[in-house]
């Protein structure tokens, strides 16, 4: 809502990278971490970091889409758990099942969950934060119920299933590849596809979007469904990566995903958000999770430091943007 058509236009005319402040901050942060612990910038550590961040990236892309429509989805963590649990249970009972079918099952579950969210928001006209908060409880409860409060452990999973997350092409892990593919697809979809552009239209001005003939409800349902689909995918990858499915998988993870989006410049009021900025937000969180244990601060300081870094990143980014906007205005005056 903040991004009226006006700001959108400004975004387009002004070619400067709006998340410049964040990029600089991220680089400075990495330099500091490297100075404290030289093992930070090693191939192995970076590979670990990217692998751990890839699931976050997949979820963040979907969340960005929903946030661009002006909504939010608090149930992603629960969908990850439910989809992961369903596919793990399937694998447990049908060990010879090919891995990609397990992925499809997980994605199917996610799709269904996402569609429920979408219908509640679009047709039920429930505010997204409440609809998804409610469904978060429902999905999480269902996960506990279908698993009978048991976990699916490593020895109950087939090797094929576990190798989804351990395999790779050359030195690059499958998780990273999947994340990159997802990001590329959605980059194209959101920037060059008509339906993708409709999402921005619905987010920046729902009224005019409806007047111009965009089927707002359909776009909303689609956004939530796609996020559900990605959450389902993430759920299977999560379970495969950790070789364990628990009822409380990814509890509270939605906050990480939302934080990544917002750090990356996605507005919670809808209409704005770019894949490029988003990736920076995801990377910032990934670097923090990876580096905080490395720099060997006391565990009790970790939360505080993480909070301060996020706050500084947000405020810095804002001041850079303010300056950029001012410059842009000046240029226009000339």
């Amino acid at each position: 809502m903040k991004a009226s058509a006006n700001t959108l236009e400004k975004n387009k005319t002004k070619k400067t990278f709006r998340e410049l402040g964040l990029l600089v901050f991220l680089i400075v942060l990495c330099v500091i971490f490297q100075a404290i612990n030289p093992t930070f910038f090693t191939w192995e550590n970076l590979a670990d970091m990217l692998r751990n961040t890839s699931i976050l990236a997949i979820l963040a892309v979907g969340m960005m889409m929903v946030m661009v429509t002006g909504g939010i989805d608090l149930s992603v963590g629960a969908i990850v758990a439910l989809a992961g649990m369903v596919s793990a249970l399937t694998v447990q009972y049908v060990p010879q099942l090919p891995a990609f079918i397990a992925i499809l099952i997980g994605m199917g579950v996610g799709l269904g969950c996402g569609a429920v969210n979408g219908v509640l928001v679009a047709k039920g006209r429930i505010i997204p934060i409440i609809a998804t908060l409610g469904m978060m409880n429902v999905f999480r409860g269902l996960t506990y119920l279908i698993s009978g409060s048991k976990w699916v452990s490593a020895h109950q999973m087939s090797d094929g299933f576990k190798s989804i997350a351990t395999g790779g092409i050359g030195p690059i892990n499958t998780l990273i590849i999947i994340a990159v593919i997802v990001v590329l697809i959605f980059y194209y979809f959101l920037n060059y596809n008509r339906t993708g552009r409709y999402i921005y239209a619905v987010g920046s001005n729902p009224e005019s979007a409806v007047i111009t003939g965009i089927k707002k409800d359909r776009i909303l349902i689609m956004s939530y469904t796609l996020l559900g689909l990605l959450a389902g995918l993430a759920g299977v990858l999560w379970v495969s990566k950790f070789a364990s499915a628990q009822g409380d998988t990814a509890t509270g993870y939605e906050m990480n995903v939302i934080a990544a989006c917002v750090l990356g410049g996605v507005s919670v009021s809808g209409g704005t958000g770019k894949v490029g900025g988003l990736l920076l937000g995801v990377l910032l969180l990934g670097v923090l999770q990876n580096a905080l244990p490395l720099i060997n601060v006391s565990t009790f300081w970790e939360d505080f430091i993480q909070g301060i870094i996020i706050l500084v990143a947000i405020l810095l980014n804002i001041s850079v943007k303010r300056r950029a906007d001012k410059n842009a205005l000046k240029r226009r005056e000339i």
């Binding site: 550590n45 751990n52 452990s153 490593a154 020895h155 950790f242 490395l294």
Partner: protein, 368 residues
């Protein structure tokens, strides 16, 4: 159309409010008869201390675990239920959805209102439950703790899986053994607030400092994985990065040890960095079979819950009062004696932790 939707919505709201309560009405079918004499039930039990059977069928015993959806907890509650059912009494199994003391306080209040005969808690916080449990004891309810204890003032008896010294010693010896007598090792714990883990780590550190034998061992870091998979993995990776000479990781928590096992497996570090600690056999079977973890420990949660169940019943029927020296029969587990605990209260000790290795993991991995 609109009216139709209205009716449907209202029906849905009404339906689940009632549906929620309907099944429960069946599960507590015995409740009406037993509720009335609930208050004097304990007295009656105490009088009938000579014959334990006298109280059978009328007692209601509740266990409150840390949180729901935890297979270890499910087994512990199952053991508790088995014990209570053997005696023909009624068991109530509860747990909050999140591992918080706040959630447990509310459950304890609900149990007090129901007039149960005993409450057994697996506490999320040793001190925070004190007012609630004191209220329960004042209402004549017998309160005991199991597994993760509460402070001495808020319980009549603690059913301890094994003293923290015993666990600390086992973990220290395992680290010593796996490091070959000298070298760096690290601990990967649950949250920094986890009382059990903190007690064990403290015991381990005391043992290490107090014995010449361990002078070449160096504990480089206590990392906290918060019992989250992703954080435990990050912490393990950071340990491996920061301490290239690390010889062993000790993880006294079920999520942490499995996450560390997964990292060591993926990085092909079996044989280079050893792993031990406390873990669920089902979760660890994979990593014990592939050699990442040579052996690890745990007690049988079924037995622990079972013992807690008999303890609750013995307290209720007056066989024991919770004073040191009291003896009672705990079903198939045999006779147990109440002893003084280090915190000033009294406790019953189940026994030393059980060691799981490649020889016995196959028979346990499907049990719990």
């Amino acid at each position: 159309m609109k009216k139709w939707m209205t009716v449907v919505c209202l029906l849905v709201v009404a339906a689940f409010v009632f549906a929620a309560c309907a099944p429960a009405a069946e599960t507590t079918s015995q409740a009406p008869e037993s509720s009335a004499p609930a208050e004097d039930g304990t007295e009656a039990g105490a009088e009938a201390s000579t014959g334990t059977e006298a109280a059978a069928g009328s007692g209601k015993h509740a266990i409150v675990f840390k949180n729901t959806g935890n297979p270890y907890g499910e087994k512990e509650m199952e053991g508790f239920e088995n014990a209570i059912k053997e005696a023909g009494q009624e068991a109530i199994l509860r747990a909050p959805d999140q591992p918080t003391a706040e959630g447990q306080i509310q459950i304890i209040e609900e149990l007090i209102a129901q007039g149960v005969d005993s409450i057994t808690v697996v506490a999320n916080d040793p001190d925070a439950l004190q007012p609630a449990l004191t209220k329960a004891m004042q209402a004549g309810i017998k309160v005991s703790a199991v597994d993760s204890g509460v402070n001495a003032q808020s319980r009549e008896l603690f059913v301890n899986q094994a003293g923290s010294e015993l666990i600390g010693q086992a973990l220290m010896d395992a680290a010593y053994d796996m490091c070959g007598g000298s070298g760096e090792f690290a601990i990967l714990s649950a949250t920094s607030q986890a009382t059990n883990q903190n007690a064990w780590i403290e015991a381990l550190q005391k043992i290490m400092e107090g014995d010449e034998k361990y002078k070449d061992m160096e504990l480089v870091k206590v990392a906290y994985g918060d019992d989250l998979r992703d954080k435990s993995v990050s912490e393990t990776e950071a340990l491996l990065q920061s301490y290239p000479d690390l010889k062993c990781i000790v993880a006294p928590t079920t999520v942490g040890i499995a996450a560390a096992g997964k990292v060591l497996t993926d990085k092909g570090l079996a044989g280079k960095v050893a792993l031990t600690g406390l873990g669920l056999p089902s979760e660890m079977a994979e990593y014990i079979d592939n050699g990442v973890c040579e052996y690890m420990f745990l007690w049988n949660p079924l037995d622990l819950g079972y013992l807690a169940g008999y303890t609750a019943m013995a307290l209720t029927d007056g066989t024991i009062t919770g004073a040191a020296g009291d003896k009672f029969e705990a079903g198939t587990l045999g006779e147990y004696t109440v002893v003084d605990a280090s915190d000033g209260g009294t406790e019953i000790i189940l026994g030393p932790p059980f060691r799981f290795d490649s020889a016995n993991i196959a028979e346990w991995k499907d049990v719990y």
